[in-house]
Assembly symmetry: C2
Homo-oligomer: 166 residues x 2
């Protein structure tokens, strides 16, 4: 293990990226690391990053219309379709046609799916702890506040074209 390039936190010799948009750069890096951490934790319980959100909604709300999931997760319809196909094949999810609307389909967690609930909660707690280690409550609150502002910013600029605003 050579410690040649502590690539994680060296802003010393960053490329133009840092000069152009240090925050965007930081956000990208944190996002990637966070995703990796989530992926590692979720893999152990048989899910891929992204799927846990969908399952959480299902655990939370029971049978849900697919279009509702799309709105809730703010994802592309095709993304949800494929995710559901995989989750269904994995046995964590069941889809049935909505009797009220024959073009819609209702999604719900299977028994196997519910089994994951506790493990996913544990994994997320672990992830949360990994993320926030060393941040005192005041810092956490400030981070939450600032992330909220950034999210609102990005959401607004994204919203004028495609549906972010629920």
């Amino acid at each position: 293990m050579t410690s040649e390039d502590p690539a994680c936190t060296q802003y010393s010799r960053l490329p133009s990226a840092a000069a152009c948009g240090p925050f965007s750069h930081a956000v990208s890096r944190v996002a990637r690391l966070h995703r990796i951490a989530a992926g590692r934790l979720l893999r152990a319980i048989g899910l891929y990053p992204g799927q846990e959100f969908l399952m959480m909604h299902l655990w939370d709300a029971g049978a849900t219309r697919q279009s509702e999931l799309i709105k809730l997760l703010e994802l592309d319809p095709s993304t949800v379709t494929k995710m559901l196909q995989r989750l269904e094949q994995a046995g964590y999810v069941r889809r049935s046609p909505d009797p009220k609307d024959r073009r819609a389909s209702l999604v719900e967690s299977t028994e196997d799916g519910f089994v994951l609930h506790e493990r996913v909660k544990a994994a997320w707690s672990e992830l949360e702890e990994q993320t926030l280690t060393g941040l005192d409550p005041a810092e956490q609150a400030e981070l939450a506040r600032l992330l909220g502002k950034v999210e609102a910013n990005l959401c607004r600029t994204a919203g004028d074209e495609a549906g972010c605003g629920k």
Copy 2:
């Protein structure tokens, strides 16, 4: 300032995700929105999100060994390979065998690639502005500091297994 969260984030009726890991959830959302914003800006100039980092390094440092790019970008080797294949086919990048090491290959930006430089810088400035709108300098500094801590956290937990800490 409280949970008046406009449109995008209704923390009021969030699923278990928020209860389990509000920060992880926020990070995921910000990451996704940020990526979307970047994608929208980059698309207009012929790049996909992620490629701009690679090009920036090339513009910055000239001909670079592929393995160096992998270390710099902290990406999987196969990711870089495929990205380069696409960038090469798009005409933005040129690869040549390294005379010093016949298994390595040197990557450099083409003329067409350099043309993108200014536009990418502009796009990133725009992205940075979109991200940080409404944050005063003190908030920006605090956000940078906190993101740095989070990054270090995630980097550390990622490092004990695979290649973040090099």
